[in-house]
């Protein structure tokens, strides 16, 4: 039974819902007035380290961050 639901344009372009939702949220945050804009941007900053594993051993971790490096 083929599903006949209409696919949203972003889904047919290969984007997932979360990516779409995050892009919308970022655009809205960019259109805010100060000081709300800086509050919103600082609230959404992330800082994390990713470690890929191969053969049961951790490889070099990469740090992904929105805050400026010291």
């Amino acid at each position: 039974m083929a599903s006949t639901a209409a696919v949203p344009f972003w889904r047919s372009a290969g984007m997932t819902y979360i990516t779409y939702s995050n892009i919308c949220a970022n655009l809205v945050r960019n259109c805010l007035k100060e000081p709300y804009k800086s509050e919103a941007i600082s609230r959404e900053k992330v800082h994390f380290s990713v470690t890929k594993w191969a053969d049961g051993k951790p490889q070099k971790p990469t740090i992904r961050s929105d805050s400026p490096e010291e």
Binding site: P8, F9, W10, S12, A13, G14, M15, Y20, S21, N22, I23, C24, A25, L27, V28, R29, N30, C31, L32, K33, Y36, K37, A40, R43
Partner: protein, 201 residues
């Protein structure tokens, strides 16, 4: 072959029990999981059995038999609860299928939201928010859960930025080459035009 199917259907409906929906299962778990308590008492009869997670949960508010007069709204964002169990008269949400009004006694619905205006009507007050995207769930007991990623009151939006963004993305849409670029530019145009109409309308 079809006669067999018909008779099989008949027997299926009369003999097998229908499984209960989650809204019909008893939610009173204050006494705890009976099987667990029994097993505990066999092993440690002098110690009180510990509470299980279900005893810490509030039971789902029951569906009233008469139409309730107010809608209870939980309007939440990832970082804060804008409205928590607020009793209101009506909520208008920007669903992908258009502006949808939710009144007490609305049929249970799950609606995906598009960037647009959300208005909460309480008596004569109307509070408006611009939502970036999210979902709205309406339950049978006249509870509405509205989940949004970003929701801002209209006075926090900068019209100059909106115009700039709109022209920028319209330009990008015209010059976009790959599918992904086109999709991103289209999203930009949609969001900014929704912001624009929210500010002016």
């Amino acid at each position: 072959m079809f006669r067999q199917a018909a008779s099989r259907l008949l027997t299926r409906s009369t003999t097998t029990l229908r499984r209960l929906y989650s809204t019909e299962v008893a939610t009173d778990a204050s006494s705890g999981d009976a099987a667990f308590v029994e097993a505990w008492k066999k092993v440690a009869p002098n110690i009180d059995p510990p509470k299980t997670p279900i005893q810490f949960m509030e039971p789902r508010p029951p569906t009233p038999s008469t139409l309730p007069s107010k809608l209870t709204v939980n309007f939440v964002l990832p970082y804060a609860a804008e409205l928590s169990k607020a009793e209101v008269d009506m909520v208008i949400v920007p669903a992908t299928t258009g502006q949808m009004g939710i009144l007490p006694g609305h049929v249970p619905t799950i609606a995906e939201l598009k960037p647009g205006l959300l208005s909460v009507h309480e008596g004569n007050d109307v509070k408006k928010y611009f939502i970036s995207s999210g979902f709205a769930f309406v339950h049978s007991n006249s509870y509405a859960d509205i989940l949004a990623v970003e929701a801002v009151p209209l006075d926090r939006i900068d019209p100059a930025q909106v115009q700039k963004g709109l022209s920028e993305f319209t330009q990008k849409l015209n010059s976009a080459s790959t599918d992904l670029d086109k999709a991103e530019a289209q999203i930009g145009v949609d969001v900014h035009s929704a912001l624009n109409s929210a500010l002016t309308g």
